[in-house]
């Protein structure tokens, strides 16, 4: 492997040093540019959000905006109920979705017979390609009426409906990445465990999953980010009432739904308050990623 790698630049050098320099520089530049696209995009989005959203913070006050309970533009811009709704729906989706996804990943990587894996895996991958508006529609015509019947409530457009739809939506992300990280483990882990007399199930839970923890945590983090950022499906099934939800069986509006619903018409301080909602969302994502980074670092060695 190493020898092969080294031999390539040597042969290239021997053809033409000058030409190789140009090509090398070009690709070096190309790599840097590609890497910068993401960073520049993030920086631009952050700069844009802050420059547009700060007037709302200045006028309404950070405390009144972040912890205010009433969303009544253009007078009051309290987004606390939406923060609660976003967190509740995301946590709920993770609690329901992650165990299902993790068990599916283990099944696909370790247990499933080939023919069954060939059915389940494409199905999961297809799930990832379904547009969120279709998920929303599915939620609206299947899950929402089901909740109405099961819980005997007048309207099924509730936080619970959002949780169920989000739990399904995060499945493909979490399954695919978890399965990949389980498959990437050196086979000696499993062989060693089995050789020591551990059962297959025991070795899965005590050896393989802990060993693949960093990949699984990344999968969960991406799942959370997906759930927190989802908009269209949530708008369709959660009712979007800006009041504080009293339980999982009441409608609520998430941060993303608030931005998407009102941005098209909003002007002045109202529009600024919507950007401020975006800032709060960004802060949540940053905290989430920092936490995952911290946990991964702690467990790495």
């Amino acid at each position: 492997m190493n020898i092969g790698n080294k031999s390539i630049p040597q042969t290239a050098q021997s053809i033409s040093t000058k030409k190789q320099d140009w090509v090398g520089m070009f690709f070096h530049f190309l790599f840097i540019c590609s890497a910068l696209v993401g960073v520049i995009s993030l920086a631009t989005i952050a700069w844009f959000l802050f420059s547009e959203g700060l007037p709302a913070f200045r006028q309404a006050g950070v405390i009144d905006l972040v912890f205010g309970n009433e969303w009544l533009p253009p007078a009051l811009f309290g987004i606390f109920p939406m923060i609660v709704a976003s967190l509740a729906s995301t946590i709920g989706a993770v609690v329901i979705g992650v165990p299902i996804a993790l068990l599916t990943a283990v099944f696909l990587a370790e247990l499933a017979p080939q023919w069954l894996a060939n059915i389940v895996r494409p199905a999961v991958e297809l799930l990832a390609g379904i547009p969120s508006v279709v998920y929303g529609f599915f939620g609206l015509v299947i899950i929402v009426p089901a909740i109405e019947v099961i819980f005997n409530i007048p309207a099924g457009n509730t936080v619970l409906a959002g949780i169920i739809v989000l739990a399904i939506m995060i499945l493909p992300t979490v399954i695919t990445i978890s399965e990949t990280s389980l498959r990437a483990l050196p086979p000696v882990y499993k062989e060693g465990a089995l050789a020591l007399g551990a059962s297959h199930i025991y070795s899965i839970f005590k050896v393989l999953i802990p060993a693949a923890k960093s990949g699984i945590l990344t999968a969960i983090a991406l799942g959370i980010a997906r759930a927190l950022g989802e908009t269209m499906a949530i708008i369709m099934v959660m009712g979007n009432a800006p009041a504080m939800p009293g339980s999982l069986l009441e409608p609520a509006r998430t941060l993303t739904a608030n931005i998407a619903m009102e941005m098209s018409y909003a002007t002045g301080i109202h529009a600024s308050a919507l950007y401020a909602t975006g800032i709060v969302l960004l802060v949540f994502i940053v905290i989430l990623n920092a936490a995952i980074l911290y946990i991964n670092k702690k467990r790495a060695y």
Binding site: W71, A75, S264
Partner: protein
């Protein structure tokens, strides 16, 4: 966006005396009318080459602009009283906008009064029994706060209150919010207990519009002024306005103009 409009307006003002005096028609006023007016203006400019500049500043500002002559044409999305304008101001209704209060097809309610509707939306009436229906809870569906339909609905039913000197909605915050006529329609069509308001043009047989004060929500009743949750789109011009503005209004009232009005979901006046 505003900056761009302002810039264009500024350049237009500077350029117009030099090159094409009096050929830019200025229109300003109601933001609700602005949507349809921009389409009309664009089509008219394409056909005649005359520029039409549309600004959404609000109905009252539109009335003022026409009265003071700062715009050739003022737009208002409500009834304008004679007292608001000077004697030499003409008022022309270019279209009408009706809002239907809809319920699920299974609902037995046939008619509601404006007061009953307002109470339902304030969250004071919570059961259909209280307004003459079966004993079922009411699920209130509204539009997002930035929607023009919601604005008109709140204006007509006086669903406004003041906080810190600013007018805000008094629709109950626990009402479900649909973004767009289509979504309100889907929710109402699928929920036996729901009530929602949508543009009259969007009503079909998946749900049912209730009569308001005993008057059915039909185009004819709105044109006659009998159906109350409706509003006219009024154009205001001075009697001595430039001929270009007169031609543009004639175009709006022509078959071509009125078909644009219909395509934008409003009720034509002809």
């Amino acid at each position: 966006m505003k900056k761009v409009i302002g810039l264009v307006a500024a350049i237009g003002l500077m350029a117009s005396p030099l090159t094409f005096a009096n050929t830019t028609i200025t229109v300003s006023g109601s933001t609700s009318v602005t949507n349809v007016m921009e389409v009309l203006a664009e089509t008219y400019s394409k056909e005649t080459g005359i520029d039409v500049e549309v600004q959404g500043t609000g109905s009252s500002a539109g009335v003022r602009a026409a009265k003071d002559g700062t715009s050739m044409i003022g737009m208002a999305s409500r009834e304008v009283t004679r007292k608001e304008v000077t004697a030499d101001t003409e008022m022309i209704v270019m279209a009408r906008d009706g809002i239907a209060v809809t319920v699920n097809n299974s609902n037995t309610i046939k008619s509601l009064t404006k007061d009953q509707i307002a109470k339902i939306y304030r969250g004071e009436t919570k059961n259909w029994k209280e307004v003459g229906g079966e004993s079922k809870p009411i699920v209130v569906i509204t539009r997002d706060t930035a929607s023009g339909t919601r604005g008109a609905f709140e204006d007509i039913l006086k669903l406004k209150r003041k906080i810190n000197g600013m007018k805000v909605s008094s629709i109950t915050p626990t009402a479900q919010v649909g973004n767009g006529n289509g979504m309100v329609k889907t929710i109402v069509a699928n929920n036996d207990f729901a009530v929602g308001y949508i543009s009259l043009g969007s009503v079909d047989n998946s749900l049912r519009a209730v009569a308001v004060e005993g008057v059915e929500a039909t185009d004819a009743n709105i044109v006659a002024g009998d159906y109350k949750i409706a509003r006219p789109f009024v154009l205001l011009v001075k009697k001595d306005v430039a001929q270009e503005a007169r031609d543009f209004i004639a175009y709006i009232l022509s078959d071509a103009g009125q078909s644009i009005v219909v395509s934008q979901g409003y009720i034509p006046v002809k």
